[in-house]
């Protein structure tokens, strides 16, 4: 076990004390982070206040000096000059060496990305360095559907159980089915349209055109409707299931049925304005819940998106272009969507952009005219809503998970760095620690177990089209 160095400011000193106390003590002893500028996100910013954490949950957020808690019962950490806000939520990431569908066909909803993830990838540690505590990890956009996504909480901890994360199961968000009691991993379904899933020559059934792409998707959903009818027909009047009537299990169909029943959200890659409209058209036809991802042209059809009630997870990159669909990309898109009334998040699409500078993207949205409040939500609460996790994360609200970050200054300043990242009340990243510092700034040894996002790496190297 390594102990964080004691060289830095007061925040770090106290954080080290928690690490030494061990996980049990840290869990049981409440901790107060005092004298900080606090951004709860769902409430007005507090210029000088405190955050009280108990048993990994947020117990209280309040203005002024710590009060109403016995001094010896509590760890007090002075965060003078620091800014505290919720851990960031990245609604679209490709880290961990992801792999989804293969080249055998364009629509493979039965494939699960969680079967491919390497939790030892430095990508996770770099994400924590950027203040990210929750991610939607997705397979790529080279298919009409490349499979199921997974929602993860970056439960990496410094201190005695730093090795605590051994498999993807240790960081997965689970949902407990009320009826069956079955524990199920949370995630959506990745879909894509536009040029990425199109392939010249139509090899392996991939579409060459937009019309064909929509046709192929509709065909599968219609097949899934038939499958759902068989599932429904197997139900007895008392609600029990007549197993003899069930259709043969089909993983692709099961997934599409989850989607049509609203149990699984579609995370849809889409850039061009007409492609965005196609997604909305299909969502209406098959009654699925959809989140529009990237939406380079979103500013051109903002009112239509608002009318459809679809949330957006947008990306801003430093320049337009690089592909035909992204020539209309603008920093103004989140602002225009916000004004149209669209629930708008932003995402890293790591490695398209770097998780370590995720806050920068929200700041660029402000540069493009988004409100400060909207931009703060775009990396926190909006993402939580999009992932159906807003009852647990996304704001500093009593009862929610104590996922938060300590910043050296204003979240939207280029001179601000993430100093610490806490997940469920425990220290997961500390910039003053040498290893974490390396993950934060990069350098020889900072990147390991990383496979570049395969959709575009060849193109980036100049070997692709």
């Amino acid at each position: 076990m390594r102990v964080p160095t004691l060289a830095m400011g007061v925040c770090c000193l106290a954080a080290a004390a928690i690490g030494l106390a061990g996980p049990a003590a840290a869990q049981s002893k409440p901790t107060a982070y005092v004298n900080a500028h606090i951004i709860p996100v769902d409430a007005p910013e507090i210029d000088r206040g405190y955050l009280l954490v108990r048993d990994g949950k947020i117990a209280r957020v309040a203005e002024g000096a710590l009060a109403g808690v016995a001094g010896d019962e509590i760890e007090v950490i002075d965060c003078q000059g620091k800014v505290i806000m919720p851990g960031l939520i990245d609604t679209h990431s490709h880290i961990g060496g992801i792999g989804g569908a293969d080249g055998s066909g364009p629509i493979q909803p039965g494939v699960r990305v969680r079967d491919s993830i390497n939790v030892r990838s430095s990508g996770f540690r770099r994400a924590l360095a950027g203040g990210i505590t929750t991610q939607n990890i997705m397979p790529g956009s080279g298919h009409l559907s490349s499979g199921q996504t997974v929602y993860v909480k970056l439960r990496f901890r410094k201190g005695e159980d730093a090795e605590g994360v051994r498999t993807i199961d240790d960081i997965t968000y689970w949902t407990d089915d009320a009826k069956s009691g079955e524990r199920r991993p949370m995630g959506g379904l990745k879909m894509a349209n536009g040029t990425n899933p199109q392939r010249d020559g139509g090899a392996s059934g991939f579409p060459e055109t937009r019309g064909k792409a929509a046709f192929l998707v509709r065909e599968q959903f219609i097949k899934a409707q038939e499958y759902q009818r068989k599932l429904d027909a197997a139900k007895n009047p008392d609600g029990s299931v007549d197993e003899s009537k069930l259709p043969e299990r089909d993983l692709d169909m099961e997934t599409l049925c989850e989607v049509m029943r609203g149990e699984r959200v579609v995370h849809h890659h889409t850039h061009r304005h007409d492609d965005i409209m196609t997604v909305l058209r299909l969502a209406e036809e098959f009654h699925f819940r959809v989140v529009l991802h990237h939406v380079s042209d979103g500013w051109l059809v903002a009112d239509e998106i608002a009318k459809a009630g679809a949330p957006v997870s947008a990306i801003l990159v430093d320049a337009p272009g690089g592909k035909h669909e992204a020539v209309g990309l603008r920093f103004e898109t989140p602002a225009i969507l916000e004004r149209a009334g669209v629930l708008t998040a932003v995402h890293t699409d790591d490695w398209i952009t770097d998780s370590r500078v995720f806050l920068r993207m929200a700041a660029l949205a402000v540069r493009g005219g988004m409100t400060r409040e909207g931009a703060l939500k775009s990396v926190t609460l909006a993402g939580a809503k999009i992932l159906d996790l807003d009852d647990r994360i996304g704001s500093l609200t009593p009862g929610k998970d104590a996922d938060f970050i300590v910043l050296s200054g204003d979240p939207f300043s280029v001179y601000t760095v993430v100093e610490q990242t806490y997940v469920e009340g425990r220290l997961a990243f500390d910039r003053s620690d040498a290893e974490d510092h390396l993950y934060a700034v990069g350098g020889v040894g900072a990147v390991h177990d990383v496979s570049p996002y395969y959709c575009c790496y060849d193109q980036w190297l100049g070997e692709g089209e």
Partner: protein
């Protein structure tokens, strides 16, 4: 309707070249000393800076432009803008020709699209001078040039047509399928052979141009025909060799892209053998060589701060710039080459990341994208700082230029005023 409005707006934004302009800034960074509060830059009708100072009176006839912060027009020490177009399709990608690994004869001036939208895009963020040309990707990809981010044609834009020759010592220049080069050692062998050929070519020409010096033994017997030698046909011209000879003579540098320590060591070894001027490009792991780079005066055209750390650049750091600065190595920060999205990087943003996350600080980062870049490129007599006699190139901002939420509100190139970032193509491209 919209298009007409846009054209009208652009016409208003781009004042005619030759207008006299006074830039007034609450804070003026001249890069020639401390910043000036309430600074004024007067640009004459010839596009040159006439005066710089605090609270200067503006003579009549000058168009006044006010902003919170002004800096010299930014100088991007290495980019491929103009060769790597917006759409990223074969029709607008001219950064390297994959037909052969060694093509020193290719010239940036023959490939630069002055009207590519990305040129206007980076100008909108204050970039006025770019060192652009063939990208890393093949062993020798071609020649680079220095240009201003304006003009309808390359002739309007270019200020140094042959700046350097771009070479790559990195696995990205390796070729598959049994083609050479397939390894690092092979890359070195091929470069050495090519440079040896160039030495021989240079000798042939030297001999042709200076026959007497080359053949001292001929004096005894050939006196009557002495003049005939000069009438001999010149050696056949070889465009590839001509470019390499310029490198060997020190007229232009060999700009070697290298990230890994062994590739950087190879670049230094090659320069030792052939005595050319070496510029190190990218240099992810170059702080390991700080002492050598400083002692030998090798400048570093440093990787974009936020460049992706994958493949052979996985050792790069936000702090590389600060480490070089602390060690006294000459460097400037580049926007580099991107094969995908984003199609260009903006050197203003890369400087900002170095200033903030990288710990370089504001002033050193600003130097790295203005005067220090101009000095490396040898164009500091014209650009890189605000000083009487230099080009009237100014970038204007509504706050600290590096802050994420600040905007570039206008760019001036030799007295020609352009809009800032928000005036970039408001209509759908």
């Amino acid at each position: 309707m919209r298009a007409r409005w846009i054209i009208g707006a652009l016409a208003l934004l781009a004042s005619a070249a030759g207008a006299q302009i006074a830039v007034k800034a609450d804070k003026l960074w001249t890069m020639e000393g401390d910043p000036i509060d309430h600074g004024v830059v007067l640009i004459g009708a010839n596009g040159k800076i006439e005066r710089v100072g605090a609270r200067l009176p503006v003579p009549p006839g000058y168009e006044v432009r006010e902003c919170a912060v002004a800096t010299p027009g930014l100088v991007d020490v290495r980019t491929t803008v103009g060769l790597t177009g917006l759409y990223n399709v074969p029709a607008d990608q001219d950064q390297f020709d994959n037909a052969a690994p060694i093509q020193p004869g290719l010239r940036a001036v023959d490939a630069y699209n002055a009207q590519d939208r990305l040129v206007a895009y980076v100008r909108g963020f204050g970039v006025t001078t770019v060192h652009t040309g063939h990208a890393p990707g093949q062993l020798i990809t071609g020649q680079t040039m220095v240009a201003k981010t304006r003009g309808k044609t390359v002739d309007d834009a270019v200020i140094v047509p042959e700046e350097g020759l771009a070479a790559t010592l990195s696995p990205i220049a390796q070729r598959g399928g049994g083609q050479s080069p397939g390894t690092r050692a092979k890359m070195m062998e091929m470069l050495r052979e090519e440079l040896l050929k160039a030495q021989a070519y240079q000798k042939k020409w030297d001999k042709f141009e200076n026959p007497d010096e080359d053949e001292p033994a001929a004096g005894d017997e050939a006196a009557p025909d002495g003049d005939k030698k000069k009438e001999k046909d010149p050696p056949a011209r070889d465009l590839k060799m001509e470019a390499l000879v310029k490198v060997l003579k020190g007229e232009i540098p060999l700009i070697v892209t290298a990230n890994k320590a062994q590739d950087i060591a190879n670049a230094l070894r090659l320069a030792d053998e052939f005595g050319f001027r070496l510029w190190l490009d990218m240099g992810a792991e170059c702080p390991l060589f700080s002492d050598e780079l400083k002692a030998r005066g090798v400048p570093v055209l440093l990787h974009p701060t936020m460049y992706r750390a994958v493949g052979d650049s996985d050792g790069l750091s936000y702090e590389t710039a600060a480490k070089l600065a602390d060690a006294g190595v000459t460097f400037a920060i580049q926007s580099g080459y991107e094969g995908y999205v984003p199609k260009v990087r903006v050197v203003l943003f890369e400087g900002g990341a170095a200033a903030g996350d990288g710990g370089l600080g504001f002033e050193r980062a600003l130097r790295a994208i203005t005067i220090d870049a101009a000095k490396i490129l040898g164009v500091d007599n014209r650009v890189g700082s605000l000083k009487p006699g230099k080009d009237g190139d100014v970038a204007m901002y509504d706050g600290d230029p590096f802050e994420y939420i600040t905007h570039c509100v206008g760019t001036i190139i030799e007295g020609e005023a352009f809009g800032g970032e928000r005036e970039f193509e408001m209509n759908y491209p």
